[in-house]
């Protein structure tokens, strides 16, 4: 309707929460089916993901790359762009970071680490800018062109890691990055690194850019009404490219974090769909940096707890994938939930 106005903040939160609860409820049907008690299974899930500082650290470690990819997707979305290319941008960024990491072995840490991070961001930004240019200058829809660029990024890094930059071992991976480029762990033995701080800084930066700068005003205007933006003297093409570049830089950070914090080398196809998960995280987080952080933590928790649930009960860890899918389904089916919760737009 013409007069639909933005829902109140608490309702914004209510919706994702309802989606999570519904997903867990349906998940419990599966748990019953395999002959377990849902309360026991979810109890383990909860304990193993949030029950101790150590478990929380693991959860955060799982969540960190999702914070970056979620933010990447959300940022582009605010500018009216559906970036499904986070996966490809992540690989290019990861490779760039790894390359800096294993190439400049003699740099002092204070230069080497930032340089590798910047390289990772730049790699992602550059890759995403290709999509931005294709969209802005040639009108190729970003969904199509980012999907294609994903394939190119994958095969390109496949070749790099098996060909010119193969590390010499029997597995398809590059040489190790030097210690001066590795992120430090904050809570050993968990693999949580300082990247999680970087994610919080990135979230703050995204918030500031979008809502407190001239650039953000332009980006969001382009996303909400490109015709009015154009009329207001905003260069739509330029902002499209910039939005993609920033989005790509965020995706690149996810790859960087994986290399410098976790794998310490570039491994062939290491990502297990972190980029695509970013779409889900952004959706659940309502494309808001705070929402994205929370959503990423939720997904991180599910993943962190799933191993123990798998080990201690008859419930397979794949249940987590089902629950994640259900959450997304319910968030997307906003209308359905609104009706169930009887949220009246004008109430």
């Amino acid at each position: 309707m013409r007069t639909k106005i933005k829902a109140l903040p608490w309702q914004e939160l209510l919706l994702p929460l309802a989606a999570v609860v519904l997903a867990l409820l349906i998940g419990s049907v599966f748990i019953l089916y395999v002959g377990e008690n849902p309360l026991t299974a979810y109890g383990i899930l909860f304990k193993e993901s949030l029950g101790s500082v150590r478990n929380i650290a693991t959860t955060l470690q799982r969540a960190t790359p999702l914070m970056f990819t979620g933010m990447a997707v959300a940022f582009a979305f605010r500018a009216g762009l559906f970036n499904i290319g986070a996966e490809g941008q992540l690989y290019i960024g990861a490779f760039a970071a790894a390359w800096v990491g294993f190439t400049f072995a003699n740099l002092p840490r204070i230069i080497h680490l930032p340089l590798a991070i910047v390289a990772g961001m730049a790699g992602g930004a550059l890759w995403a800018s290709i999509a931005g240019v294709l969209k802005a200058k040639l009108g190729v829809h970003e969904v199509i062109n980012t999907i294609m660029l994903n394939f190119i990024a994958l095969f390109l890094t496949d070749w790099l890691v098996t060909g010119p930059f193969h590390g010499g071992s029997w597995v398809p991976e590059t040489a190790r990055i030097s210690a001066s480029a590795a992120l430090s762990r904050i809570y050993p033995p968990t693999r949580l690194t300082t990247a999680v701080y970087l994610a919080v800084v990135a979230a703050a930066a995204v918030y500031l850019i979008l809502w407190k700068t001239k650039r953000g005003y332009e980006l969001r205007a382009v996303g909400l009404n490109p015709s009015a933006a154009e009329y207001g003297g905003i260069n739509v093409a330029r902002n499209t490219i910039i939005a993609m570049a920033i989005s790509g830089a965020l995706a690149g950070l996810a790859g960087t974090e994986q290399i410098l914090g976790l794998h310490n080398r570039f491994i062939l196809r290491f990502s297990s769909d972190l980029g695509f998960m970013g779409v889900a995280v952004a959706l659940l987080g309502k494309n808001h940096p705070v929402g994205v952080i929370l959503a990423a933590i939720l997904f991180g928790a599910l993943q962190a707890g799933s191993a123990a649930m798998d080990r201690l009960t008859a419930v397979p860890r794949e249940l987590i994938t089902i629950i994640q899918a259900l959450i997304i389904f319910f968030v997307a089916a906003e209308y359905l939930i609104r009706r169930m919760l009887r949220l009246k737009e004008d109430a």
Binding site: T3, T213, R215, E218, L224, Y231, N235, D346
Partner: protein, 517 residues
């Protein structure tokens, strides 16, 4: 004649506004009841409640003698209530017949029965004298015909109470005539009609009774025969309204805008603006009259830098601005009230404050080292909300939540306070109430008197006639004639707007003047 509808003490509270305050409204069988009132007075809200789009907070609705609860449009449709919105809800790629039967399709087994659908629509259009080709694609129809499809859609669902929310705002004068004919036919068949409009002339022309709302309250209901323009205007606004614009003679100064042989083509290469040459001087209003779709929009967009120019040149204050970006043109001293405020003029999901800086968002007080100066933006908003009486006066509300007229005031306020050298106003008062029209007209003249060159594009003859110092007529992409206001008559404008040549008119007038008036 019995009452088919009674609404008693309807109250509707929105988070910040009491949109309807114990409003009584009734509708007789087979009457046309006009509903008028300022922007934001609650007309659409009242009718949306009747149609089940909003839930009332108090009051009762009685349809054909029965108290009813209407909580969704489905129930309204079952009660034979139909509504035609200002923004049509048609599916453009489908045909007229498909759109009309949508939701209650005629089937043959599992398949659609296209033949019967078409014949059914033909029968309906015959019965009500609403001529239309059932097989035409909706996307190919003019706005007037699309509206006809909306009306048929309601009738197909059996509506005998028909609500039309500002149906004439988007129509050309000829289409308005046609619509009135349709309404009268419907009325003679026993349909009862609620007709929302801002134009008092239309109220007087077509309605039987008229009800006036002001700030959510019902001010009164009059029999149309017993009222007049001035009285209605005063009831709407609550004070005496100047229906004529008061202005002194123009004092044209330097040349501000010069078009030399400007030609504009659309994306398919069709010529939309053909070799147009014009000048507008500082301190004068040049009105462009013309039936919509004769190249006015393209011409304006070309000057604004929003469309490429295929030939010719545009000068603004002696600078050649042909091919400049919209931002550069703006900064060279240009302001534009665009014809379509929803598409061009506003980012509806932005707050009122943010909309008030669109186009200025990158300029000095509002941004500092790339960062927004929230304080300046808020001050600017407060000032304009006060000066232009934007209601409700809440800078943080999204523009979407404001009524149409108040949305227009946002655009006008923003463009006018820049005191541009060249100000283009395209349909500046579309969908705007009489009080606001008076205000906007005064502002246009004030801009002129401060030395702006004003180019006014309007489909409202009255508006062109009362504001312009010179009038140009645009037909089929060409400027047919430019004349000083003293030489213009409504009749002559009408003749030229429909494609008549100036020479023919002068010849005709001598021989045919006896038949006129």
């Amino acid at each position: 004649m019995g009452k088919v509808l009674e609404m008693r003490a309807i109250t509707k509270q929105f988070p910040r506004v009491l949109a309807n305050d114990k409003v009584d409204f009734d509708l007789n069988h087979g009457e046309i009841h006009a509903l008028v009132g300022e922007n934001g007075s609650g007309k659409s809200t009242l009718m949306s409640i009747l149609y089940g789009l909003y839930q009332k907070d108090g009051g009762e609705i009685i349809v054909r003698g029965q108290p009813v609860q209407i909580t969704e449009p489905r129930q309204a449709i079952d009660l034979k209530i139909g509504m035609v919105f200002q923004h049509f809800m048609l599916i453009e790629p489908l045909t007229v017949a498909e759109n009309i039967v949508l939701g209650s399709e005629i089937r043959k087994g599992p398949f659609l029965d296209h033949k019967r659908m078409v014949s059914e629509v033909e029968r309906l259009s015959e019965e009500y004298g609403l001529k239309i080709d059932p097989n035409a694609k909706v996307a190919d129809l003019s706005v007037g015909l699309q509206q006809r499809v909306e009306i048929l859609k309601a009738l197909y669902r059996g509506a005998d109470i028909l609500i039309l929310d500002e149906p004439t705002a988007v129509l050309t004068p000829q289409e308005v005539e046609d619509l009135f004919e349709v309404l009268n036919t419907l009325k003679s068949k026993g349909t009862s009609i609620v007709f929302i409009t801002h134009k008092i002339k239309e109220v007087l022309a077509v309605s039987d009774r008229v009800s006036v709302l002001r700030r959510g309250k019902k001010i009164g209901t009059k029999s149309t025969a017993e009222t007049n323009e001035q009285e209605l205007a005063e009831m709407m606004v609550g004070r005496v309204v100047l229906l004529r614009v008061e202005k002194g003679p123009a004092k044209p100064g330097r040349e501000v805008l010069r078009l030399d042989g400007v030609t504009v083509k659309d994306q398919f290469g069709h010529v939309k603006v053909n070799n147009v040459s014009l000048t507008v001087r500082s301190g004068e209003v040049l009105g462009i009259a013309g039936v919509e779709g004769n190249g006015q929009s393209e011409l304006v967009e070309a000057i604004a830098g929003l469309t490429k120019v295929a030939g010719g040149s545009i000068h603004l204050s002696n600078q050649d601005i042909t091919g400049w970006s919209p931002l550069r043109v703006r900064r060279a001293g240009f302001g534009l009230v665009p014809e379509d405020r929803h598409r061009r003029g506003l980012v509806l999901d932005y707050s009122v404050a943010d909309n008030l800086i669109l186009g200025l968002h990158g300029s000095k007080p509002f941004v500092h080292n790339g960062l927004r100066s929230e304080k300046k933006i808020a001050e600017h908003a407060e000032e304009l909300i006060r000066d232009y009486d934007i209601r409700p006066p809440v800078a943080s509300q999204p523009a979407r939540a404001l009524s149409g007229g108040n949305q227009q005031k946002i655009v006008v306020a923003r463009e006018f306070t820049q005191n541009p050298d060249l100000l283009i106003c395209s349909q500046p008062t579309r969908g705007v109430d009489v009080g606001a029209i008076e205000f906007i007209h005064q502002q246009v003249i004030a801009q002129r008197d401060q030395g702006a060159a004003v180019l006014l594009v309007s489909a409202e003859l009255d508006e062109v006639l009362s504001l312009s110092d010179r009038v140009a007529v645009m037909y089929n992409g060409e400027i047919v004639n430019v004349m000083p206001i003293e030489e213009v008559t409504e009749h002559k404008l009408g003749f030229l707007m429909l494609g008549g040549r100036p020479e023919e008119y002068d010849a005709n007038e001598v021989s045919g003047s006896a038949d006129q008036d």
